[in-house]
């Protein structure tokens, strides 16, 4: 028996949970250097529901989830868990308060068993204070039976498939008796059958009263599993609706309904002959039958969501990870591109997506960064790099691109993202490319540098350079491109001309 006072208190919490949801956040703001990732964002998760989060790449979904899971601390705003205001200081803190997150990239320890992974830090002990493996195996079996998971608790995690690892992660989350379970694109690596099993587990968790936050790009999943959904756009809250009240087009409109400003100084320039032709380029399991043409002076935009494998196509074209089959023709002649050096010999240049990972030499100075590609092909005499000459070229290019740094001997790690990006563009322009592949040329840089880079791309096109530009920002794709190619899960899902393209049409092709 509980006392009337206790019962009343329980009722109060229960009522609050019903009204506010098990998790309710409001006014959340999060700023990273140079980017406002979340601005006055709200979200309410009711117990026993699946709540989908929708939005383009960079809308702020992942940042918000990391705040809820305690990875990031918000700059402002309130998080209420079961009606109480809480601070989530770390992932462990969030976990202990009842929030579990299943990360996109699974976080299991490969060389330990399934049971060890699930009960880590909470291992049952025998009377000698040592880990009781039999008990741990039994507990895991119980847990799996409850969740209808068919896995050996003693199996080593490294031997499991991705789907099985996902099951282990889910079981681990459930074992914490969490009230809120966050899943970040859990189906991205699963087959259809595995997805069905996952959904069965999710439905079961829902009946147990757990609130599930489900991040996805896939429309059909949204309608199949979600009860409610919330849309974000550019770090702002757009709206929350019942999944049964809306259509696919409504959601796409909510996701892309963005003003296109005139910050894209695209000028029409004459488009010349075909310079690059790609036929049925395939890298099994990654992308399939990618075909397109690119002409002199043309900017071909390449749009698609995360997982559309746009960057992999670019890497294949440049020989970083060559394709298995298909043809690449330059000036009408078939060519073999097995390495970046070969691609460069054909007049190609490739600005990679990730400045820090595959672009900058952070410990080296600006000049060295600008010159690295040039000196692989020329400007070496009698074994010595013609330093004076390449320095002059690099300085001129840095000036043309308005790189802001006190001097070009500055180490690149001390520069802002926009200036780093300009250095990388300078690197490639020095090689005088005829075909320029740009992967997210303006990601993570401030507005001023962004429009300068846009102006530059347009100028290059006007000089006859053929540009293939990958971008996750639809306004950028729409503003800059002569034509737009859209990819979806490793396939080209369509082409749009500048005149006919709009955000809804791109998203329809990208989200399928």
């Amino acid at each position: 028996m509980v006392s009337p006072r206790t019962a009343a208190a329980i009722d109060r919490v229960h009522a609050a949970t019903q009204r506010d949801g098990v998790l309710s956040i409001s006014g959340i703001r999060k700023e990273f250097p140079g980017v406002l990732a979340l601005d006055d964002v709200q979200l309410r998760i009711r117990p026993g529901t699946v709540h989908a989060l929708m939005g383009e790449n960079g809308a702020g979904k992942s940042t918000l989830m990391k705040i809820i899971a305690g990875v990031y601390q918000p700059d402002a705003g309130e998080i209420r868990l079961r009606g109480q205001v809480v601070a989530l200081k770390s992932p462990l803190d969030a976990l202990e308060q009842g929030i579990s997150m299943i990360h996109q990239e699974l976080a299991l320890m490969n060389w330990m068993t399934v049971a060890e992974n699930i009960w880590i830090r909470r291992e049952p002990k025998n009377r000698f204070g040592l880990i009781d493996h039999a008990e741990m195996t039994r507990m895991t079996a119980d847990l799996f039976a409850r969740l209808n998971i068919n896995l050996d608790p003693r199996a080593q995690v490294s031997e499991l498939t991705v789907a099985q690892k996902q099951m282990v992660e889910i079981a681990k989350a459930v074992s914490h008796n969490s009230d809120v379970l966050i899943m970040d694109e859990p189906t991205s690596a699963l087959t259809e059958r595995e997805v069905d099993h996952l959904f069965a587990i999710i439905r079961d968790l829902r009946t147990r009263g757990i609130g599930i936050v489900y991040i996805t790009h896939k429309m059909n999943e949204l309608f199949e599993i979600a009860d409610e959904f919330t849309v974000f756009r550019d770090g702002k809250y757009v709206g929350t609706h019942n999944a049964s009240d809306v259509t696919r087009d409504d959601i796409i409109r909510m996701m892309v309904g963005r003003e296109i400003t005139n910050m894209f100084p695209k000028v029409d320039c004459p488009i010349g002959d075909t310079i690059l032709e790609v036929r049925d380029l395939t890298l099994p399991g990654v992308f399939h039958d990618v075909s397109f043409t690119l002409r002199r002076g043309e900017i071909l935009g390449l749009a698609g969501l995360v997982g559309s494998k746009r960057s992999n196509v670019a890497e294949a074209l440049f020989g970083v990870h060559p394709a298995d089959s298909g043809e690449i023709l330059i000036d009408g002649k078939p060519v073999t591109i097995a390495s970046p050096a070969q691609a460069m010999a054909h007049g190609m240049a490739f600005l990679t997506e990730d400045r820090k990972e595959t672009g900058c030499f952070l410990t080296l100075d600006c000049l060295e960064n600008i010159q690295s590609a040039l000196i692989t092909r020329s400007h070496v005499k009698n074994g010595f790099v013609q330093q004076a000459e390449v320095n002059r070229l690099a300085e001129d290019m840095a000036r043309t691109l308005r790189v802001k740094t006190p001097n070009l001997q500055e180490t690149v790690e001390n520069l802002s993202g926009g200036n780093q990006q300009k250095l990388l563009i300078a690197r490639w322009l020095l090689t005088k490319p005829r075909i320029l592949i740009l992967d997210e040329p303006t990601r993570g840089i401030d507005v001023g540098a962004k429009s300068e880079i846009h102006r530059l791309i347009t100028e290059l096109a006007a000089q006859g350079v053929a540009v293939l530009m990958i971008s996750s920002e639809l306004p950028e794709v729409l503003g800059m491109s002569d034509r737009i190619m859209v990819m979806h899960e490793g396939h080209v899902s369509g082409f749009l001309d500048r005149a006919e393209a709009d955000q809804v049409k791109i998203m329809s092709l990208a989200a399928k």
């Binding site: 970083v320 970046p340 590609a373 790690e413 200036n419």
Partner: protein, 339 residues
């Protein structure tokens, strides 16, 4: 955010920083001064103003300095080479066996005595190149971590050195061969090697590619650099320099033993690290390593001068290496925070 904020962020300290080598030079001067003062206090004489002491000091470290030049470019490329000490031992044995005089009755190859000095020299460098090829191939193409790959060759090559004459030392070299280790020759060879690689690292593609790979191997690949092939070159050169050092040691002592060069690799790495070469790659210079080498020498001869036990030397040497690495890690962390 206004455009003014942007320019403010893009323009860091306008003050020109002096090269990192200056700091290391200051450390060297500081340590030397400490020994000078301790010298007057405990020994009643100057530490620095003794030509003989300085000569012995520089001779002591030059041989390992030759190895350190090779190790420096390996570390700048983002790797490590633990096999150099074993290469010293093995190459000392092999080269010496082709450098013996005919008047010695028990030569290893009685038919191949009194050969011109160039023959054992080239054979020795060739042996070094083979070990380097194995190191480089393992690291670049099978993607084994450099630490493990060179640990393997370190043990194997030492085993080879012992097997070569079943543990017997090899002595009685020709005058020509002995010449490369005589007098101040080790120092001359070190200076030549250091100069050549100082220029190579700064003014040739070889050096620029090495820095680029160490700074960011992925970015280097996308820039059109054949990363794998270049790494093989780097390890081959490092092993050849260790081979050269091995021959200098053998020539100087006029004898070769399988155990020669034991733990030289660690001293060479220590010189580089003390000289400001970052174990994360992409940062450091031959000049820095040269200063690191002298710091190393000053500390050893300083302890001898103060008549401290050799045991203390070892312990302090270890502590200094750890301190240098801690300083490097600390610098990186500070940089990451400011950027």
């Amino acid at each position: 955010m206004s455009s003014q904020d942007i320019t403010a962020r893009a323009a860091p300290r306008t003050q020109r920083k002096w090269p990192a080598e200056v700091n290391i030079l200051l450390v060297l001067i500081g340590i030397a001064l400490v020994f000078e003062i301790l010298g007057w206090i405990f020994q009643g004489q100057s530490f620095l103003f003794s030509w003989n002491r300085l000569k012995i000091m520089i001779l002591q470290v030059s041989v390992i300095g030759i190895i350190a030049v090779g190790v420096t470019q390996v570390i700048i490329s983002g790797g490590i080479d633990l096999s150099s000490g074993s290469v010293v031992g093995a190459v000392a044995m092999v080269a010496m066996s082709f450098a013996q005089v005919s008047t010695y009755a028990r030569a290893v190859y009685p038919a191949l005595t009194d050969l011109p000095m160039i023959v054992p020299l080239l054979i020795g460098l060739g042996c070094g190149a083979v070990v380097g090829l194995i190191n480089g191939w393992l690291i670049a193409y099978t993607k084994i971590p450099p630490f493990i790959a060179t640990l393997g060759t370190m043990v194997t090559v030492r085993g080879f050195a012992k097997w070569y004459t079943k543990g017997q030392p090899i002595s009685f070299p020709t005058e020509g061969f002995a010449w490369i280790g005589s007098g101040m020759m080790p120092v001359v060879i070190f200076i030549l090697v250091a100069l050549i690689f100082h220029v190579a690292m700064k003014y040739t593609r070889y050096g620029k590619f090495t820095y680029a790979i160490g700074a960011n191997a992925q970015a280097a690949r996308v820039s059109g650099i054949d990363v794998e092939r270049h790494l093989v070159k780097v390890y081959v050169i490092a092993a050849m320099l260790a081979a050269l050092a091995g021959m200098v040691v053998a020539a100087r002592g006029q004898t070769a033993q399988a155990g020669m060069g034991l733990a030289y690799e660690l001293d060479a790495i220590a010189m580089a690290v003390i000289g400001g070469v970052s174990l994360n790659g992409g940062r450091g210079s031959i000049l820095g390593t040269a200063i690191g080498m002298i710091i190393f020498g000053v500390i050893i001869s300083g302890f001898t001068f103060l008549r401290l036990d050799a045991y203390y030397q070892e312990m302090i040497k270890g502590a200094i290496v750890v301190a240098a690495v801690v300083a490097d890690v600390h610098r990186q962390r500070k940089r990451r925070k400011t950027s």
